[in-house]
C-alpha cells in the first residue's frame, strides 16, 4: 500500500481529462517571463520586445513540431474553447456565401456544439452525426452526410469523457476528397497520441495548454497554409497572429505551452506505454473486485489515460461522496438542475440508469502504480458497501428485472 495518505482535502488526483497539473519544468521555463523578461513581444524597438518575441517564436516551433505543422500555421489563443470557436465560426463566415453546411457529432465538447448552434441561428445547416455504441462515428454515415455544400467537418480527436480516438486519418481523406475543411478539437489528444496534420489531412486543429501539462489560459489553433484555409477573425485589433487573433500575446503562457509541447514530443511514447500498463491494471483490478461493471466507450481506440466505467446499481455521485479521497468525476449529473445524466454516455446508447452510475477515471504523468492499487481498493470497498444499501442490487440478486417495474419518473 502507498506510503502517502490521501484525504478529502488532499485527494489522489485521477481527473486528468479535467485538467493536468502544470509540469514543474514548464513553470521553470515560464518564470523569467513574468518579471525579468517582461517585454511585449510585439514591441519592435528594443531588447525587451525582441527577447520576448524570440521566446514566443521558439514556443511556436515546439507547438508546430508536436503536430507536424510549420511555425507559420500556429495561432495562439486563450484556450481550446476559443480555438474551436475561431475555427468553426471563422471558416463558416469566410466561405458561407458559397458553402453553408457543417458536419459535427453529438458527442463533441459543448463549445463545438454551441458554436454550431450559433451558426444555425445565422442560417447555416448543421448535421450532428450520431455515434456508434463504442463512441466512434460511422465513416459511411459521415460520407453520406457530405454534400458539395459542406464547408467544414468538425470531429474531435479524443473525447473528453470516454477517451475514444476518432478515425482522424480516414475522416481527413474523405474531407480532402470532397474539398471540405477538416477541423479537429484535439484538446484531449495533443501530447497523448501521435498527430500529424499532413498525414491526417487536418486543416484546423485546436490545442489546449492545461490539458498537456501547460498553463491554463493559453491554447493554439493550427490553420493550414497549403492549401490555404482562411478565417474571419473573432477578435479585431492590432492584427497580431496574422490578423486572425488580435491582442498582445501573453509571453509567459506562450512559453509555457511551448515547453509543454516540447516535453510531450520527447516523452509521449514512453508515457503512453506506462499509462497503458496502469490502465490495464486499474481495469483488471476493478473487474476482479467488483462484478457487473461496464466500460463506456471503445477499449482499443482509446487514450491510455482514461477509463469511464459504470458501476451498476450504485449512483455515481453517491459513490464519489464515499471515495472523497479520490478526485474523479461522474457522468451522473445530480448536482445540475436538470438531473440529466451525461449527454455523451446517452449518445452511446448507455441507458440512463447506467449513465447515473458512471465514474471517469483519468490517469496521467504523475500517476503511480501505488495510486492505481489504492484507487482499486477504495472504489471496490465503497461500491460493495453501497450495493448493500441499494434496493436495485437486491432486486438484481433476486432476479427481478428493474425494467419490469413501473417507476414513477420524478
Amino acid at each position: 500500500m502507498t506510503a502517502k495518505t490521501w484525504t478529502q482535502n488532499n485527494p489522489l488526483y485521477l481527473d486528468y481529462q479535467a485538467t493536468t497539473p502544470t509540469d514543474p519544468r514548464v513553470v521553470e521555463a515560464m518564470n523569467p517571463y513574468w518579471t525579468e523578461k517582461f517585454g511585449n513581444p510585439h514591441s519592435r524597438n528594443h531588447h525587451y520586445g525582441w527577447e520576448a518575441e524570440d521566446a514566443v517564436e521558439i514556443a511556436r516551433g515546439h507547438v508546430a513540431d508536436l503536430i507536424g505543422a510549420s511555425t507559420k500555421e500556429i495561432i495562439f489563443t486563450s484556450g481550446a474553447t476559443e480555438s474551436n470557436n475561431l475555427a468553426i465560426k471563422g471558416v463558416a463566415k469566410f466561405y458561407g456565401d458559397k458553402r453553408n453546411h457543417i458536419i459535427t457529432c453529438v458527442t463533441e465538447h459543448k463549445c463545438v456544439l454551441e458554436s454550431c448552434r450559433a451558426l444555425q441561428q445565422d442560417g447555416f445547416d448543421v448535421t450532428y452525426l450520431h455515434v456508434q455504441e463504442n463512441g466512434l462515428i460511422d465513416l459511411d454515415v459521415l460520407q453520406a452526410a457530405m454534400t458539395d455544400k459542406t464547408v467544414l467537418v468538425s470531429i474531435m480527436a479524443v473525447n473528453n469523457e470516454i477517451g475514444v480516438i476518432q478515425p482522424l486519418k480516414e475522416i481527413g481523406q474523405m474531407c480532402r476528397a470532397n474539398k471540405t475543411f477538416f477541423h479537429t478539437d484535439a484538446a484531449q489528444a495533443v501530447g497523448k497520441i501521435p498527430l500529424d496534420v499532413d498525414d491526417m489531412n487536418i486543416d484546423l486543429l485546436s490545442i489546449s495548454g492545461h490539458k498537456v501539462y501547460g498553463p491554463m489560459g493559453i491554447g493554439a489553433l493550427y490553420v493550414r497554409r497549403k492549401p490555404r484555409v482562411r478565417l474571419v477573425p473573432l477578435i479585431h485589433g492590432g492584427g497580431q497572429e496574422r490578423a486572425m487573433r488580435s491582442g498582445t500575446l501573453p509571453t509567459p503562457l506562450v512559453v509555457g505551452l511551448g515547453k509543454a509541447c516540447e516535453l510531450a514530443s520527447k516523452e509521449m511514447a514512453a508515457e503512453a506505454e506506462r499509462l497503458h500498463g496502469f490502465q490495464d491494471r486499474l481495469f483488471a483490478g476493478l473487474k476482479e473486485r467488483i462484478p457487473e461493471i461496464f466500460l463506456n466507450g471503445d477499449l482499443v481506440h482509446r487514450i491510455p489515460g482514461n477509463l469511464n466505467i459504470s458501476f451498476a446499481y450504485v449512483e455515481g455521485e453517491g459513490l464519489m461522496m464515499g471515495i472523497k479521497d479520490l478526485a474523479v468525476s461522474s457522468g451522473s449529473a445530480c448536482t445540475s438542475a436538470s438531473l440529466e445524466p451525461s449527454y455523451v454516455l446517452r449518445a452511446l446508447g448507455v441507458e440512463e440508469e447506467l449513465a447515473h452510475t458512471s465514474l471517469r477515471l483519468g490517469l496521467g504523468r504523475f500517476t503511480t502504480e501505488e495510486d492505481i492499487d489504492y484507487a482499486v481498493e477504495r472504489i471496490a470497498k465503497e461500491v460493495n458497501r453501497l450495493r448493500e444499501l441499494s434496493p436495485l442490487w437486491d432486486m438484481a440478486q433476486a432476479g427481478i428485472d428493474i425494467k419490469s417495474i413501473k417507476w414513477a419518473e420524478h
Partner: protein, 136 residues
C-alpha cells in the same frame, strides 16, 4: 460544496439498513423514485396492532443526500403512530441535514417514501378487514 456533519454521519453510518418481509401483513413498503432519475428509495415500516411503528428499514440507490434523507426518516418514524409519521415534512428533513438547494428533491422523495409505506400498510389492513368482514 460542503455537506453538514449530520448528513455525512448518516451517509457513512446509515441507520436501519435492510429489508423486512414484504408479504407480512404488519409491514408497509414504499418504493419511490426511478433508476433513470438516479434515485430509488425503498422504505419499510413494521406496525403494531395499535398503530405504532415498531421498526423501520431502508435501502436507497442515490446520492449521499438521498441515502442520508432515507436513513434519517427511518429514525424519525420509529415509535411514532402512523398518523404522526405521515405529518413528517420534507422541509424538516432538509433542515435537519442542511441540504443544499439542488438536493431538496432528496428530502421530497424521503417524504414520499414514508407516505407510500403508510399507504401500503393501510391498504393491507383494509384488505384484511374486508376479508374478515366477509368471513363473519
Amino acid at each position: 460544496m460542503a455537506y453538514s456533519k449530520e448528513l455525512i454521519d448518516h451517509y457513512e453510518n446509515p441507520r436501519n439498513v435492510g429489508s423486512m418481509e414484504d408479504g407480512a401483513s404488519d409491514i408497509g413498503t414504499g418504493l419511490v423514485g426511478a433508476p433513470a432519475c438516479g434515485d430509488v428509495m425503498k422504505l419499510q415500516i413494521k406496525v403494531s396492532a395499535d398503530g405504532i411503528i415498531e421498526d423501520a428499514k431502508f435501502k436507497t440507490f442515490g446520492c449521499g443526500s438521498a441515502i442520508a434523507s432515507s436513513s434519517l426518516v427511518t429514525e424519525w418514524v420509529k415509535g411514532k403512530t402512523i398518523d404522526e409519521a405521515a405529518t413528517i415534512k420534507n422541509t424538516d428533513i432538509a433542515e435537519e441535514l442542511a441540504l443544499p438547494p439542488v438536493k431538496i428533491h432528496c428530502s421530497v422523495l424521503a417524504e414520499d417514501a414514508i407516505k407510500a409505506a403508510i399507504q401500503d400498510y393501510k391498504s393491507k389492513v383494509a384488505t384484511a378487514n374486508k376479508g374478515q368482514d366477509a368471513a363473519e
